[in-house]
């Protein structure tokens, strides 16, 4: 997937004026891909493991956590490739790379919160996963993957700033392309949203998990 994308954006879409365009797009695609995949697999995780839930007394929280973590493995490979491409493009390592684990950690926390909440709701309302899938399609356009933040009119910018995926894309570009640390305000906002979502997800999951057995 990465190879195909790199090919398309270096050979097909390559614009003479902007040699960094492929990197620019990948900084958007890697976070978005991770987010959509982890959210969908997290949402179906409880339902997919119905036989285990009905028959083995393990803490139910294991299932969404496991599905998000298994997506993190793919993510690590993608990030490694992305960093490799950054180097190939002649951009060196900089000190701000140290921010990456933190911002990704916050993003993973956010997805886990979503996975908790949606996997539990998905047991009661089975079409939740289709809502998630459609939202992801919309998200592809709502997250600045192919366009930059600078293009967004000021009056809509507030909408983007509360979107954690967009925030992540912005910070990835800050660090990898613009060689500067992410803005404190964006970071703090992401931290609040992520921790809040994680807490809310755990709470919703805890409220709904007692009904799993009878509903599965």
């Amino acid at each position: 997937m990465m190879a195909v994308l790199t090919f398309i954006f270096t050979k097909i879409f390559a614009r003479a004026s902007d040699t960094n365009f492929p990197l620019f797009v990948l900084c958007g695609l890697v976070p978005l891909n991770f987010f959509t995949l982890a959210w969908v697999t997290g949402t179906t995780s409880v339902l997919d493991n119905a036989p285990l839930i009905k028959r083995v007394p393990v803490p139910r929280q294991v299932f969404p956590i496991a599905s998000v973590i298994s997506n993190c493995l793919h993510l690590l490979i993608q990030i490694a490739l992305l960093l490799g491409i950054v180097l190939v493009f002649g951009r060196g390592v900089n000190i701000h790379w140290l921010w990456l684990p933190l911002i990704w950690g916050l993003e993973i926390l956010f997805v886990m919160g979503l996975a908790f909440a949606f996997s539990a709701v998905n047991v009661y309302v089975r079409d939740t996963r289709y809502v998630v899938e459609s939202t992801n399609t919309v998200l592809f356009w709502l997250v600045p993957v192919f366009y930059s933040f600078a293009l967004i009119p000021a009056r809509f910018r507030g909408l983007y700033e509360i979107n954690p995926v967009a925030a992540l894309v912005l910070m990835m570009r800050n660090v990898l392309l613009e060689n500067h640390a992410p803005l404190d305000s964006t970071l703090i906002r992401l931290a609040i949203v992520s921790v809040g979502m994680f807490g809310a997800g755990l709470f919703i999951f805890g409220k709904l998990k007692d009904g799993f057995y009878t509903r599965l």
Binding site: P51, L52, I53, K54, R55, V56, P57, V58, V123, Y124, V125, R126, D127, D210, F212, Y213, T214, R215
Partner: protein, 246 residues
Amino acid sequence: MPLIEFQDVSKWFPHSTGRQLLRTHITRWFGRVHHQPFYALRNVSFRLEQGESLAIVGSNGAGKSTLLSLAAGLTPPDQGHVRVNGRIAALLELGSGFHPDLTGAENLVLNAALLGLSRRKTNQLFDRIVEFSGIGEFIDDPLRTYSSGMVMRLAFSVAIQCEPDILLIDEILGVGDASFQTKSREALVSFRQAGKSLLFVSHSPGSVREMCDRALWIDHGSVMMDGNANEVLEAYQGRALVQQGI
């Protein structure tokens, strides 16, 4: 202190309307249809003391498996209290918690972890479990190549060797061959002699008499009789004959 105590436990299931789609919920909110819930268990009370073994008998759908699920902590009761003191190993369904593509050895470790065994303890017990199961060289083959008897033997071996305080068994013992059945009977007997308890669902009067001194007969979710295994079995079988009109 009893190992398991059920106090006026009731458990009901909503009558399901097929797939739980958003439509189902909306029509239920607006509709006047109120389904009566289905009672799987109704005011069930019993105690299982240390060293005691209890068999649960009853016809299909009487609530036996629901009772085991509640004891295993898979689901909370809708009414009443379930108290469990001690570590439980549950053999509720053949091959639950097993993954078909993992090898027998990997499944063994996974299953032991699900029963709450630490990695180190599992490594210590590994050889004993494999030896008991009699699976031998097949232990490194993926589980999907196993026969159902082999799967059951592996599951049973893990459960019995990890030394729980209470063992829950839901009529799966019949799968093994004669030699393994003898072996598992012996293991269960020594398990009981070690002062551990057994909660046992079976349709075979022979194994109930052999394994348990006490039996609980449930029918349509209610306790019909609780007492000496022989007496309960007699009553239960007599009732079954009456129903057949003999």
